[in-house]
C-alpha cells in the first residue's frame, strides 16, 4: 500500500518555460507601473498648478478631491480644506496652469448645494479680457443654497406674525384707531353730522350754525345797503355828468382858459420884440461908451492943461500968501 512510486519531479514539461515566466512577470510589472502612472496622472501629479483660496462661511459637503467647474468643465480640484483664524472655511483649490486662463480678476465663485446634499463649486468669468487671476489669490465664495434660505425665511415669517399679532391685539394702536373711527362714524350719523365730527362737541356746532345764520342776515342787510349806494351813485352821475352838471361847466371854463393862454402867448411875443429892441439899444450904448473913453482922455488932458493954467495963475497971482507948490 505504501509502496507508491515517488511523484516525477517535472510531471509536465513546459516549452519555453523561462520565456513565458518572464513575459508574465513583465506583464504584471507593466500593468502595475501603468496603473500607478495613470492614477498619478489622474490625480494631477504631473500638472503644473496654481493655487486659489476660496473663503466660505460653511464648507459642509465640500470634500478633498472634488472638482471646481467652469462652464461644466472641471478646471480645478480641492486640495485642502482648513479653518481660518476668523472661523471661516478656507478651501484651497489647485488649478492647472493650462486651465487658469479661464479665471480672471473679476471671476465669481459659487458654492451651490443641491437638494440631495451634493455640492458644486463653480467659477464664472464674465469678462474674459480682464487680467488673469494671480497665483494664491483669495476670493470670497458666494453660497447659493436652496435650503439655507429656509431658516431665514422662517425667522422673517415669525417676525411678521409677531407684528401682526401686536397690531391685532385688543390694546393695540390699530384697534384704538378703529374704535375712534367707529365713534366718528356714529357722530357722522348724528344730528350735526360732519360738523359734529370736526368740532368735537355739539355746543360748538350749535354756535357755528348760529354764526352762519347771523352771517346770512348780515349779507341781506349788505344787499340792501348796496341798493341804496346804487341810488346815490345814480344821483351823483346826474349832478356830475348831467346837462347842468359839473363836467360841461368845467369844459367851458377850459375853453376860456385856452383863449386866455393864446392872449398870453401874444403878449409874450410882443415882449420878445421889445427885448430885441432893447438889445439893439444896448449895442449902441456899447459903441457910445467906446467913444466916451476917447472923450475922457481928451477931458483929462484938458483938465491937466486947466490945472497947469491955475497953477500959473496962482504963482503969478500976488495976493496969494501961500507960495508953496502944490501937486495935484
Amino acid at each position: 500500500m505504501n509502496a507508491q512510486p515517488p511523484a516525477p519531479p517535472d510531471p509536465s514539461p513546459v516549452a519555453h518555460l523561462e520565456l513565458k515566466a518572464a513575459l508574465l512577470l513583465a506583464l504584471l510589472l507593466l500593468l502595475l507601473a501603468g496603473s500607478v502612472l495613470y492614477v498619478m496622472y489622474a490625480r494631477g501629479v504631473f500638472e503644473a498648478t496654481q493655487q486659489l483660496v476660496l473663503v466660505a462661511d460653511d464648507s459642509e459637503g465640500v470634500t478633498v478631491g472634488m472638482d471646481m467647474t467652469f462652464s461644466g468643465f472641471p478646471i480645478g480640484r480641492v486640495r485642502r480644506i482648513e479653518l481660518a483664524e476668523d472661523g471661516a472655511a478656507r478651501i484651497v483649490i489647485d488649478v492647472p496652469k493650462k486651465d487658469a486662463r479661464w479665471l480672471r480678476e473679476s471671476s465669481v465663485f459659487t458654492l451651490v448645494r443641491g437638494l440631495v446634499g451634493n455640492v458644486n463649486i463653480r467659477a464664472y468669468s464674465g469678462v474674459l479680457g480682464d487680467p488673469p487671476l494671480p497665483d494664491g489669490a483669495e476670493r470670497r465664495v458666494l453660497v447659493g443654497d436652496a435650503t439655507a434660505e429656509i431658516p431665514q425665511l422662517v425667522a422673517a415669517s415669525r417676525d411678521l406674525v409677531r407684528n401682526l399679532t401686536a397690531l391685532s391685539n385688543a390694546d393695540s394702536a390699530l384697534t384704538a384707531t378703529l374704535g375712534n373711527v367707529q365713534a366718528a362714524s356714529e357722530r357722522l350719523k348724528g344730528r350735526h353730522g360732519a360738523l359734529g365730527v370736526l368740532l368735537g362737541n355739539d355746543e360748538d356746532a350749535r354756535k357755528l350754525v348760529a354764526a352762519l345764520d347771523r352771517t346770512n342776515a348780515l349779507l341781506a342787510r349788505v344787499d340792501r345797503l348796496a341798493a341804496r349806494v346804487d341810488g346815490v351813485v345814480a344821483k351823483a352821475d346826474v349832478q356830475v355828468f348831467g346837462p347842468d352838471g359839473l363836467m360841461p361847466e368845467t369844459r367851458a371854463a377850459i375853453v376860456q382858459l385856452n383863449g386866455t393862454l393864446a392872449d398870453a402867448r401874444n403878449t409874450l411875443k410882443q415882449a420878445d420884440r421889445l427885448l430885441a429892441e432893447a438889445q439893439a439899444v444896448a449895442a449902441n450904448a456899447r459903441v457910445a461908451s467906446a467913444d466916451l473913453g476917447a472923450l475922457r482922455a481928451e477931458v483929462e488932458s484938458s483938465l491937466r492943461k486947466v490945472d497947469h493954467l491955475v497953477g500959473e495963475i496962482n504963482r503969478k497971482w500976488p495976493f496969494a500968501r501961500d507960495t508953496e507948490l502944490k501937486l495935484r
Binding site: 515566466a21 506583464l27 500593468l31 502595475l32
Partner: protein, 264 residues
C-alpha cells in the same frame, strides 16, 4: 461525565492550540519572507521551479478569469449605470463602478479564484509529499524543503493573485469607460478625473495593502495547513476544508478592515 475543572482545562488547551496554529502560520510566513528576500535562494533550479509554478498556475487561469470577470463586470456596470441614470445620478455612477468593482470585488474574486485553483491544490500536494516522506528525504539530502518545494509554490500563488487582480482591474476600467462613454475617446479626460477622484492616496494605499495581504493569505494558509498538524475542531471535516475555512476567515477580516479603512 467530564468534571468542570477538566472542561476548563480542555478549553484552555483548545485556546492554546488555536494560538499555536496561528503562530505557526505567521512563523512560516516570516521564514518564507526571509527566504524570498535572500538572493542566495534564487539558484538555477529554484528559478526554474518558480517559473514552472508561475506559468503552470497562472497562464491557464488568466484568460478564463479575465473573460469571466469581464462578463460579471459588464453586467454590474450596466446595472449600476442604468439604475443611477434612472435616479438622475449618473455623474456618480462611474465612481460607484470603480469603487465597487476595482476596489472591492475584483481583488476578492481573484483571491478566491486563486485559492481554489492553486492554493488548495498546492496544499494538498505538499501534504501528500509530506505524508510520503519526500520532504524528509529532501531534508536528508541536505536540501531545505521550504526553499525548494514550498517557496516556489507560495510565490507563484501570490503572483497569480496579483496578476489576476491587475489584469481584471485594468480590463474593468476599460470596460467601464466604454460602457459609459461609448466607443469614443472624447470622454477620456473626464473619466481620468473621476478615476483620480476615487484613487485618493489613502484609498490607493488601502487597496494595495489589501491586495498584497489577500495574496499572502491565499498562498500561505493552505500551505501552512499542509505542513503542520494545525489544530482541528472536533468536526469530521478534512484538513483541506479546515484550511479553506481558515482562509475565508482571514480574507473576510482583511476585507472588513479595508472597508473600515476606506469608509470610516
Amino acid at each position: 461525565m467530564i468534571s468542570p475543572p477538566g472542561a476548563l482545562a480542555d478549553i484552555g488547551h483548545a485556546v492554546l492550540r488555536w494560538f499555536k496554529g496561528w503562530w505557526q502560520i505567521v512563523h512560516l510566513g516570516a521564514q518564507l519572507l526571509v527566504l524570498a528576500l535572500s538572493p542566495s535562494i534564487y539558484t538555477r533550479a529554484n528559478r526554474a521551479a518558480m517559473a514552472r509554478h508561475i506559468v503552470v498556475g497562472t497562464a491557464p487561469m488568466l484568460l478564463w478569469f479575465t473573460l469571466l470577470s469581464s462578463l460579471i463586470s459588464l453586467v454590474v456596470i450596466r446595472i449600476v449605470v442604468v439604475t443611477a441614470a434612472s435616479y438622475g445620478l449618473s455623474q456618480y455612477a462611474l465612481q460607484m463602478v470603480v469603487r465597487v468593482l476595482v476596489l472591492e470585488l475584483i481583488p476578492l474574486t481573484a483571491a478566491v479564484f486563486v485559492a481554489l485553483r492553486i492554493g488548495l491544490p498546492d496544499g494538498r500536494e505538499l501534504a501528500r509529499m509530506r505524508s510520503r516522506g519526500e520532504l524528509d528525504a529532501l531534508r536528508g539530502r541536505g536540501l531545505d524543503p521550504l526553499a525548494h518545494e514550498v517557496l516556489p509554490r507560495v510565490i507563484a500563488c501570490a503572483f497569480a493573485v496579483l496578476m489576476l487582480a491587475a489584469v481584471a482591474g485594468v480590463v474593468t476600467l476599460v470596460l467601464a469607460y466604454f460602457t459609459v462613454h461609448g466607443f469614443t475617446i472624447g470622454g477620456l479626460e473626464r473619466y481620468t478625473r473621476t478615476v483620480g477622484q476615487v484613487f485618493t492616496p489613502a484609498v490607493t494605499l488601502i487597496f494595495t495593502a489589501k491586495t498584497l495581504l489577500l495574496a499572502l493569505a491565499v498562498s500561505l494558509i493552505p500551505v501552512a495547513s499542509a505542513l503542520y498538524d494545525l489544530p482541528r475542531s472536533r468536526t469530521r471535516s478534512s484538513a483541506e476544508l479546515q484550511a479553506l475555512v481558515r482562509l475565508f476567515l482571514v480574507m473576510l477580516l482583511i476585507e472588513a478592515a479595508s472597508l473600515v479603512g476606506n469608509y470610516y
